[in-house]
C-alpha cells in the first residue's frame, strides 16, 4: 500500500515497477479488470484517431494527448459512481476519466471537430469538454482555477447530505498555482468530499520538475493541509484504482479530502505541434518500458483474464466504436454563426 504522509510514513521515490503486484484487488470482478483495460485502450485509440483527423486538417485547434497517462485517468474515475452523485472535474490529459465516467467517443469527436453534437456546441474546444448531463465540468486553460469550484461542488454535496464525491485533477505544473493552495486548504478546513489527483508527468509543457518545485514529493504537501497524501505509480491502473477507491470511500464517510500524486510520464509533446525534443531520449525509453496498457495486458494474460482471442475481440470492438463515433460526429453540423452571441447569460 502506498504511504500516507499524514500518517507519518516515509515516502519513497516513485518505484519503476515492471510487474504489477499479483494480489487480489478489493472489490474487483473479472468484468472490472477488463473494463479498466477497455477504457485505457479506448482512450489511446480515440486519441490516435484524433491525431489522424488533426493531420487531415479536420481539427482547427490544438490536440492534447494523455499517452502514457491512461492508467491514471481511467483508473481514478473508475473509482467513482455517477449514481451516488459523484462529479468529475478532469484536466487536459484525462480523456480516460471522461470515458470511465460515462462520456461517449461520439461526444469526444464532436467536441474536437467543433460540431453541435458536443454539449459545448462549438463554444469551447478540444479537451475543454463539459457535459452537465454527465456531471462532468471541463477545465478552463488557467491551471488550478478549477480546484476552488470543484471544492465548491464538494461543499454543496456535503451541505445536501449527499453521498457524492468530487474528483479533480491537476498537473505537476498547475500544482504551483495559487488556487491549488487556496482550494485544497479550503477543502481540508471544511472537510468536503474531495479527491485531488496530481498527475505528475515530469514536464509542464517544456519545463522539467526541477524547475517547477523543490520538494521531493508533491504529495508531501498533504501534511501541510492536514490531510492524507499518497504518492503512487500512475502507470499501474490497479494501484491508481485502489488508492482512489480508498480516497473516495474516505470522502463518502465524511472524513474529508485526499491528495494523490500519480507519477507517470507524458510520452508526447505538450500538444501535437510540440516536437518534445527537450525530453531526453533515455528518459522516454525508460518510461516506454512501463507503458500502462502493455503492462496491464501482460498482467491480465498472466492471470488468465485475457487471451489472444479476447484481446483481438476487444481491439476490434474499440475500432468499430471509434469509426462509428467519427462518422456520427462528422454528420453533426457546425454551429450556426449567430449562436456566437447566445447563451452568454442563463435564462435570457
Amino acid at each position: 500500500m502506498p504511504k500516507s504522509s499524514a500518517e507519518g510514513g516515509v515516502l519513497e521515490a516513485a518505484p519503476l515497477k515492471f510487474e504489477i503486484e499479483d494480489r487480489p484487488y478489493e472489490g474487483l470482478k473479472k468484468d472490472d479488470y477488463l473494463k479498466l483495460l477497455y477504457y485505457m485502450k479506448l482512450t489511446r485509440a480515440a486519441e490516435g484517431r484524433i491525431v489522424k483527423l488533426y493531420r487531415q486538417g479536420k481539427v482547427v485547434g490544438g490536440v492534447y494527448l494523455g499517452t502514457g497517462m491512461e492508467a491514471t485517468a481511467a483508473g481514478s474515475a473508475y473509482a467513482l459512481d455517477f449514481n451516488k452523485g459523484d462529479v468529475l472535474f478532469p484536466l487536459i490529459r484525462d480523456l480516460g476519466a471522461h470515458f470511465a465516467f460515462g462520456q461517449t467517443p461520439t461526444v469526444y469527436f464532436a467536441q474536437y471537430l467543433n460540431r453541435i453534437g458536443s454539449p459545448t456546441k462549438g463554444k469551447d474546444g478540444n479537451i475543454h469538454l463539459s457535459d452537465p448531463s454527465k456531471r462532468i465540468v471541463g477545465m478552463i486553460s488557467h491551471l488550478a482555477a478549477m480546484i476552488p469550484p470543484a471544492v465548491g461542488w464538494a461543499l454543496a454535496l456535503k451541505m445536501k447530505g449527499s453521498q457524492g464525491v468530487v474528483m479533480n485533477y491537476i498537473g505537476n505544473g498547475g500544482a504551483q498555482v495559487g488556487d491549488f493552495h487556496e482550494g485544497l486548504n479550503f477543502a481540508a478546513v471544511q472537510k468536503v468530499p474531495f479527491v485531488l489527483i496530481i498527475e505528475n508527468n515530469q514536464y509542464a509543457y517544456s519545463t522539467p520538475n526541477r524547475l517547477q518545485y523543490a520538494c521531493e514529493r508533491l504529495s508531501d504537501r498533504a501534511i501541510g493541509y492536514g490531510i492524507p497524501g499518497y504518492c503512487i505509480d500512475g502507470t499501474n491502473v490497479l494501484e491508481v484504482y485502489e488508492t482512489c477507491c480508498r480516497a473516495v470511500e474516505r470522502a463518502r464517510a465524511g472524513e474529508g479530502p485526499t491528495l494523490i500524486e500519480a507519477v507517470s510520464m507524458r510520452m508526447r509533446g505538450h500538444s501535437e505541434h510540440d516536437d518534445h525534443k527537450y525530453v531526453p531520449k533515455e528518459l522516454l525509453e525508460k518510461w516506454a518500458k512501463q507503458d500502462p496498457i502493455e503492462r496491464y495486458q501482460a498482467y491480465l494474460f498472466g492471470k488468465d483474464l485475457l487471451n489472444e482471442g479476447s484481446l483481438k475481440q476487444l481491439d476490434d470492438r474499440i475500432n468499430a466504436e471509434i469509426e462509428a463515433a467519427v462518422e456520427s460526429a462528422e454528420a453533426s453540423p457546425e454551429p450556426e454563426p449567430r449562436t456566437a452571441a447566445e447563451g452568454v447569460y442563463a435564462n435570457e
Binding site: P119, S130, V137, G138, A145, G152, M159, E182
Partner: protein, 324 residues
C-alpha cells in the same frame, strides 16, 4: 414601512433571502462569529448556523471559486469581499470561471459577490477603490451598484434570485449616512433598470451609487436659479438602462457623465459612446465627464478630496454645459 439605513437594507435583504430560500448561503471572511467587518451579518451565525454562514480562510480566490462550484451544484451562494478592493485576488475566478461557465458548458452559476467599495472615507489605496470598471466589460457578469436603501434591498434580492453571477457593489460611505422608508413586503429592483432620482429638463446627469446624492445636492442648488437638473441613477452598470439614458438625453439635451471610478476607461466612456451613436442630434453641447483622476486613490484627506469628484467639480461642469 420601516425607516432603515443603507447597510440595514443589505442586512435585511440577506436575512429575508436566507429565510425564504434554503439554497441561499453566505461565505466570507469574518462574517460568522464576528458578524462581518461592517456588521452586515451580525447575529446570522446564531440564527442560521455554520453550514449557511461560513467563516472562510483568508482566500478570496477560493471564496469566489467555491461559491461558483456550489452555484453550479444548485445553491445560491452570496460571497462577501471584506472590501471590494480584495476582489482582484479572485479576478480569474470571476472573469474566466464564473463569467464564461454558462456560455461554454450550459451550467448556470447563480451567485452574488458583494462588499463595500468607494471612497470619501480616507481608506487609502486598498480600502477605497471602485473596482467596478474592471468588470463591466466582461460578458457573462452582471454588475449593480445601488444608491439608496430601497434599491440596495431590492437589487440584492434580485441579484440573489438571478441565475447568473452578479457583482454587487455597496458604497461604504452611504452605509450609515442615508436612511429611508422601505416597504415591509417582499420586492425586487430589476437588474438593468435605472431610475430618475430627480426629474429635470435642462441637463441630464448620468451616474450611480454615492454620486447620485452629490448630484442631487448640486441640482437643488441650481434649482434656486431656475435650472432643473435631471439625475439618472443607473443602479445597474451591466447591463445598463440604455432606454432610460436615451429618454433623458433626448429631453434635456445636455449631458454630464459622473462617476467615482477613475476617468480613463471608466463606465462614462461607454455611456458617451452609446449616446453619440444614438442621440447625437439631440445634443446641444459636447458631453462632459466628471470622474476620479487617473491615479490610485490616495489616503490623506487633501489628496483624496482633490482626487475624487466633488460638488465644485460638478457645478463647474454643469455651468460649462449650460453656457455652451
Amino acid at each position: 414601512m420601516a425607516v432603515v439605513t443603507y447597510i440595514q437594507a443589505i442586512t435585511d435583504a440577506l436575512h429575508e433571502e436566507l429565510k425564504r430560500d434554503p439554497s441561499v448561503f453566505l461565505l466570507g471572511e469574518d462574517i460568522g462569529q464576528y458578524g462581518g467587518a461592517f456588521r452586515v451579518t451580525q447575529g446570522f451565525l446564531e440564527e442560521f448556523g455554520p453550514q449557511r454562514i461560513l467563516d472562510t480562510p483568508l482566500s478570496e480566490s477560493a471564496i469566489i471559486g467555491v461559491a461558483a462550484g456550489a452555484a453550479m451544484a444548485g445553491f445560491r451562494p452570496v460571497a462577501e469581499m471584506q472590501f471590494m478592493d480584495f476582489i482582484t485576488v479572485g479576478f480569474n475566478q470571476i472573469v474566466n470561471v464564473c463569467a464564461k461557465m454558462h456560455y461554454r458548458s450550459g451550467l448556470k452559476v447563480p451567485m452574488v459577490i458583494r462588499g463595500p467599495s468607494g471612497g470619501y472615507v480616507h481608506g487609502g489605496p486598498f480600502h477605497s477603490q471602485n473596482p467596478e470598471g474592471w468588470f463591466i466589460r466582461t460578458p457573462g457578469l452582471k454588475v449593480v451598484a445601488p444608491s439608496t436603501p430601497y434599491d440596495a434591498k431590492g437589487l440584492l434580492k434580485a441579484a440573489i434570485r438571478d441565475d447568473n453571477p452578479v457583482l454587487y457593489f455597496e458604497h461604504k460611505f452611504l452605509y450609515r449616512r442615508i436612511k429611508e422608508e422601505v416597504p415591509d413586503e417582499d420586492y425586487i429592483v430589476p437588474i438593468g433598470k435605472g431610475e430618475i432620482k430627480r426629474p429635470g429638463k435642462d441637463v441630464t446627469v448620468i451616474t450611480y451609487a454615492a454620486m447620485v446624492h452629490m448630484a442631487i445636492e448640486v441640482a437643488e442648488e441650481f434649482a434656486k436659479e431656475g435650472v432643473e437638473i435631471e439625475v439618472v441613477d443607473l443602479r445597474s452598470l451591466l447591463p445598463y438602462d440604455k432606454e432610460l439614458i436615451l429618454d433623458s438625453v433626448k429631453r434635456c439635451n445636455r449631458v454630464l457623465l459622473l462617476h467615482e471610478d477613475t476617468i480613463t476607461g471608466g463606465p462614462a466612456g461607454e455611456w458617451a459612446a452609446y449616446i453619440s451613436e444614438h442621440a447625437f442630434e439631440y445634443l446641444d453641447a459636447p458631453l462632459k465627464r466628471v470622474a476620479a483622476l487617473d491615479a490610485p486613490i490616495p489616503y490623506a484627506p487633501p489628496l483624496e478630496e482633490y482626487f475624487l469628484p466633488n460638488k465644485e467639480k460638478i457645478q463647474k461642469a454643469l455651468r460649462e454645459l449650460l453656457d455652451y
